[in-house]
């Protein structure tokens, strides 16, 4: 049981909530979160958006009953979270681009923060696509060399794969698959963060299968981050 420090509405159905405590977590990892007893049955996977001395933050979009429940939480309300789970993004070097589409931007804040501190990273760009309006730009600029935002268009159109050694991406599969294709045969390595429905979140129940070239993988445990070229997209 932990306590809500803040829970703010940012627009476009997106909220950011901060929870008090000393939480662990690497970039790209997630927690299984619930703020209710009985309904819904399952906890909800949320990527770590940020971690600091006060607590942990999640950026989430209201899509159904679970996230609606999150959006109603007020300061000091209680919330349960289990984690950190999953593998997270690898520690890399050279020129790095983060590409987020919609709620896929959520894990990229902690990722930007951590990547920017990696010794051998020469350059860090963040590209984000939103449907309606620009947001969060200032936040990400704290850590990125260059933050580019596309509103209403197709963010991949703006990416020049050749400029980067690594691309970390999170968002709709169609967007991530596009980036993987764009990098095909090039030196750029694309890592994708996959979203699948989850139950246990730790690798025990096999409901979150991601089909890859090496066979079935557990998105919650072997992922959510996979080398983009290994994944069979849906």
């Amino acid at each position: 049981m932990a306590k809500i420090i803040s829970n703010k509405y940012l627009g476009q159905d997106i909220h950011v909530m901060k929870i008090e405590g000393n939480f662990k977590g690497e970039m790209g990892q997630f927690y299984m979160v619930r703020s209710w007893d009985n309904y819904p049955v399952l906890s909800r996977p949320l990527s770590i958006h940020d971690i600091d001395d006060e607590g942990i933050s999640f950026l989430y979009r209201v899509v159904g009953d679970g996230t609606k429940n999150f959006s109603k939480l007020e300061v000091n309300d209680e919330i349960k979270l289990e984690g950190p789970y999953g593998n997270g993004f690898p520690k890399v070097e050279g020129k790095v681009l983060l590409v987020g589409g919609g709620m896929g931007v959520a894990p990229l804040y902690l990722t930007a923060k951590r990547v920017s501190k990696l010794e051998d990273v020469e350059k860090l760009d963040v590209f984000m696509g939103f449907r309606e309006k620009e947001m969060l730009k200032g936040e990400y600029e704290k850590y990125a060399d260059n933050v580019h935002i596309n509103v209403g268009g197709i963010i991949t159109d703006d990416v020049d794969v050749d400029k980067y050694d690594y691309i970390f991406t999170c968002g709709p599969e169609i967007m991530m698959e596009k980036l993987v294709k764009m990098a095909k045969g090039k030196d750029t390595k694309v890592y994708v963060s996959i979203e699948k429905r989850m139950a246990c979140g730790i690798g025990a129940c096999l409901v979150c299968t991601c089909k890859t070239k090496d066979g079935n993988k557990k998105t919650c445990k072997d992922g959510p981050v996979f080398l983009g070229e290994d994944v069979f997209y849906e």
Binding site: P40, R197, C200, G201, I202
Partner: protein, 300 residues
């Protein structure tokens, strides 16, 4: 601390709380979260003679107070299990139940033969999986097919044999009686209910297999009734499950006649639920001055 020990035939459990097949893997992942030796036992993910990839498409869907799953028995195969997980389980002080599935009778026989060479406490014969196209539940629906498989498997192994029953059976009580007649050491019930969901916007079934298995709190009242009916009809011990999420649920099943209980879906609500249920039963026994669960077993 009350004495929570139970005996299932000759097998001693330090407490009646077992983690249900398919919801607890082979125990490794949960063991990173808490010390699973505190449990009475675990039932492994259903194993088949050969490795299985499981079903395509969506594998899980939530309902009002349950979940539907369509994993389709994805598993590493008995050999894979023996190589990678048997030792881990053998090193733990808890009762290891190996859950066995299959598409054909021969699959079951081969699987049971292979696993019977290992240091396993109980075989749980899963003739009730609704998520595989061939075999699985088909064996557990009609009395005669159940009789046939239990008879043959009984001859195939000398390990304690528990048959896992389907709530979708024509008559679960009769199937339980058949298991008893054919020499099963016990029965476990219930597996998931055959259920369905539709996406009205896509106008499509959610699951590639159309139907999937419903578990969780939603099914508890029906599962409890089935356990009660079965416990009145047979003399072999029962492992009971279906929607157990707290110690009260567990005690209801014990009062309905179960020797021990399995916890499945509730692990997804709270990964440490097993410990909480053990604690709750302990405190209840203390409060009610119950020395052994035998005092309340089957009192309804």
């Amino acid at each position: 601390m009350s004495n929570l020990e139970v005996k299932f035939k000759d097998i001693k459990f330090k407490n009646p709380v077992i983690m249900a097949s398919g919801t607890f893997g082979f125990g490794r992942e949960y063991n990173e979260i808490y010390d699973i030796e505190k449990l009475g036992g675990i039932s492994t993910k259903g194993l088949t003679i050969n490795k299985k990839e499981g079903n395509d498409g969506i594998r899980i869907w939530e309902t009002s107070s349950g979940i539907m799953n369509s994993v389709g028995l994805e598993n590493p195969g008995i050999k894979g299990f023996i190589e990678n997980d048997m030792k881990f389980l053998n090193d733990l002080d808890l009762v290891t139940i190996v859950n066995i599935g299959g598409a054909t009778l021969q699959d079951y026989i081969d699987a049971v033969k292979l696993i019977s060479k290992e240091n396993v406490d109980i075989i749980e014969l899963n003739i009730s999986c609704p998520n595989v196209k061939a075999g699985g539940m088909a064996f557990g629906i009609e009395k005669e097919s159940a009789r046939k498989i239990v008879r043959i498997i009984r001859k195939t192994t000398s390990l304690p044999l528990v048959v896992k029953l389907s709530p979708n059976a024509r008559n679960i009580v009769e199937i339980a009686k058949v298991c008893e007649e054919e020499g099963a050491d016990g029965v476990s019930l219930v597996n998931t209910f055959k259920a369905m969901a539709i996406d009205i916007n896509k106008r499509k079934n959610i699951f590639n297999n159309t139907y999937a298995g419903l578990s969780g709190p939603a099914i508890k009242p029906i599962a409890l009734r089935m356990v009660h009916e079965v416990s009145k009809a047979v003399n072999i011990p029962i492992m009971a499950m279906g929607g157990i999420t707290n110690y009260k649920d567990a005690l209801e099943f014990i009062m309905a006649g179960a020797t021990c209980i399995h916890v499945g879906t509730a692990n997804f609500i709270n990964p440490k639920i097993g410990l909480e249920i053990i604690k709750g039963i302990d405190e209840y026994m203390e409060r009610e001055n119950i020395k052994s669960l035998d005092e309340i077993r089957g009192i309804i």
